[in-house]
């Protein structure tokens, strides 16, 4: 026990908390560090797609249709002769933006709704959560179709709707966590010392519901990328020819799966790798941000 205490005491230094966090990420959580590097890599690809991509994202070449991977086309070409590698790079841009933006929006909505209903309880809780029930009983697709037919298809609409749909559903998870944290005696202690509700929520409730919130966020990033692919397939997502990963997978990837499997394999692998990387990064963050897990592996 005392050895553990000693070890924990050596660590805190004059470094800032952010630097300290990353040092500990690489030292204590190798898997999470790999996830972090992979996420960074994809972000980099997305941001610098214009520079890296050998061809334009919609540059067609009818002579080179459905070509297998080669030195000229690293990941082959689709039915219009567009270079798959270039389209994937541009797709990273779109999918990563949509994934993070919608998941962030969803998490913010979940946390706000969950904290308000979970902490205040009573009538507020009853009314808001019955509205959440009503919302969740609608199929997401119908809400989406309505919004897209009103606003027209496009990336901001997709982010807004996915954020809202996932956010309202996720508020249940946050609410559950808040209800269990609220019962802790340290919350009672804060109330008895006269702390304001805002202070209790920010200092006592929020830090202690962080583990499920981080997991919620990381699973949402993956889910958004996947759902966006389904939406694109139906024509309600980001409209073609914009190369989102989901669109690549469900469009040419599915149609030519037997003739040209690389068209499905490449975007599918990208989605899998990014979703997995974000999940392991999220798990590592959850553990590192918990003071009780200090020094453990």
């Amino acid at each position: 026990m005392s050895a553990v205490v000693q070890a924990a005491q050596v660590l805190p230094t004059q470094r800032g908390p952010v630097v300290d966090f990353f040092i500990r990420l690489f030292r204590e959580k190798p898997l999470g560090a790999i996830g972090f590097v992979v996420v960074l890599l994809f972000l980099f690809c997305g941001i610098f797609a214009d520079v890296i991509a050998p061809y334009g994202m919609n540059q067609i070449s009818p002579a080179n249709r459905l070509k297998p991977p080669s030195a000229r086309f690293w990941l082959g070409t689709d039915h219009l002769g567009r270079d798959m590698f270039s389209r994937l790079l541009y797709g990273a841009q779109l999918s990563v933006i949509i994934g993070f933006a919608a998941a962030t929006l969803a998490t913010v909505i979940s946390v706000l709704l969950g904290i308000v209903t979970g902490y205040l309880g009573g009538k507020v809780d009853l009314v808001i959560q019955r509205m959440v029930d009503a919302w969740m009983s609608f199929p997401d697709l119908i809400i989406l179709i309505v919004v897209v037919s009103v606003l027209g298809p496009g990336m901001p609409q997709v982010i807004f709707v996915l954020g809202l749909v996932f956010g309202i559903g996720g508020s249940r998870i946050v609410r559950g966590a808040v209800v269990s944290v609220r019962e802790n005696m340290y919350v009672h202690a804060a109330q008895s010392m006269g702390a304001s509700t805002a202070r209790i929520l920010l200092q006592h409730i929020l830090p202690n519901i962080l583990p499920p919130v981080i997991v919620l966020f990381t699973t949402r990033v993956g889910a958004v990328i996947l759902v966006e692919s389904g939406l694109s397939f139906l024509g309600f997502g980001v409209p073609p020819p914009a190369p989102t990963w989901g669109g690549l997978l469900s469009g040419s990837g599915r149609t030519y799966m037997y003739m040209a499997p690389w068209l499905a394999l490449a975007p599918g692998l990208c989605i899998t790798i990014v979703v997995y990387a974000i999940n392991v990064l999220g798990d590592a963050m959850r553990d590192l941000l918990d003071p009780r897990m200090r020094g453990s592996r």
């Binding site: 553990v4 205490v5 924990a8 005491q9 805190p12 802790n184 005696m185 340290y186 009672h188 202690a189 804060a190 109330q191 008895s192 010392m193 006269g194 702390a195 304001s196 202070r199 200092q203 006592h204 830090p207 202690n208 962080l210 918990d290 003071p291 009780r292 200090r294």
Partner: protein, 335 residues
Amino acid sequence: MSMPGLANMSDPSPLLVVEDLKVHFPIKAGTLVQRQVASVKAVDGVSFLLNRGETLGLVGESGCGKSTTGLAVLRMLDITAGRVVFDGEDITRHDRAAMRPIRKRMQMVYQDPYGSLNPRMKVVDLIAEPMIVHDLLPNRAARADRARELLALVGLRPDMADRYIHEFSGGQRQRIGVARALSMEPDLLICDEPVSALDVSIQAQIVNLFQDLQQSLGLTYIFVAHDLAVVRHISDRIAVMYLGRIAEIADRETLYRRPLHPYTQALLAAVPIPDPEIEATRPQIAVAGEVPSALNPPPGCRFHTRCPLAVARCRTEEPALRDVGAGQMVSCHLV
């Protein structure tokens, strides 16, 4: 006998007056339109005075209302009837804003040293939090210095301030809880079973800490407990509660030497003597049955259903808490 600590002896007015305090919890039925169908009478007519620098022990079985009394005094619960007067100010109906300046002066120490401290805050931030809430010190450095002083005061090393709470043992955590309570320099500490979650060897240390702090800071305590030995050690006066009411209240020596209420006698007789031969031969006072429900307390004397001495009058007429001399007050027809 034992008069309160030295610090506040000059002011003779009581720090806390509780008069006929009632805390009832409504039981509601119906999902949309709620109506009250019954109420749990957790505290049902409790009165006592608390002098400055004094320790009042509140003892009784689980569910007798001792913790509820403490929480009602802190105004963490709504008071159904009666009055709570703190240092001359009637706080019975104070709202949240009006309670804020009062909260600075009365603090609580909790039973569970594990659950009552936020695991995601450093010790220094835990102890400094009341100072932030009440805007006591201007900046972070000053608050941290004060937190280190308080750690030293409760017998911990000041350099422990930057650790998280999971690195401490139960006894150390309870000391941190005490340091947090003291950071506002309160007048009244309400200690809700502060040692019952600790090992026996640690209990003594914490009880001694409470006594030392009372000596040096002139604190006033309400000490809620069920362990009679601990209460005897720390209290100046002791109130024995049964089913939401005070059965007997007296100063410590009187209560242990000459308990008058049959319930007090039974409670004291239940303490085992650590010698098998004496233990086997000592007189036993049998108390039969279970504590009745606070939903529907028995008429007359609340203890009559279990009292070995009960007579007809006890079943119909509720005994008042009467002064029987030397500050001893008993609620029993037979005394």
